[in-house]
């Protein structure tokens, strides 16, 4: 978490998964996370999807160049296309520059 400091970039991906994303979805989603983690400039990723199929994934990157390179990765291009046509009813991607961050953790109990 400490690397995702001010000055880094967040890619906020919101998506509504459709009711029947098909067999390949889970494996492809896992593969994208593994692949992202292996890219230069990758800092971290967090993901949550509720029972209604709406999900948010935020990935963190060192620079705009790192985001651009990942966007052009052949396997990622292919997965995005499947996402658009097979898995998601809609999705939005937002690129944002992190200005500041705070954390808190429960101590004790």
């Amino acid at each position: 978490m400490d690397d995702r400091t001010p000055g880094c970039y967040a890619v906020i991906f919101s998506s509504q998964r459709n009711d029947q994303p098909g067999d390949g979805y889970g494996a492809a989603a896992d593969r994208m996370v593994e692949l992202a983690k292996a890219q230069p400039g990758f800092l971290g990723i967090e993901s949550a999807r509720g029972p209604d199929g709406f999900g948010i994934t935020v990935s963190y990157w060192e620079s705009e160049e790192a985001i651009r390179a990942w966007k052009l990765h052949a396997e990622h291009v292919q997965a995005r296309e499947r996402g658009r046509t097979e898995w998601y009813d809609f999705s939005t991607t937002r690129v944002a520059r992190v200005e500041r961050a705070y954390s808190s953790a429960r101590r004790g109990g």
Copy 2:
């Protein structure tokens, strides 16, 4: 969605809800969303929480001033404190400036 354009701000709140957040949690979470929506400068909110209790909420704001005012709202201060001590094992808040956004929607079937 159209208001959350480049130049606006995203507040990315990631949290691990604990196993037994207690009775008040759901109502308080709903209340915070309603209250946020009523604040000046509020543009939108998206939220997802998976079965493991990890969740991401992203709210969008017109300006840093709007974020600051919401942060200081008395009921929000109180809810954050309960979140820290009762509901969440840990949480992180990141404020980021939206640089660009893309959407896609499946057409037809």
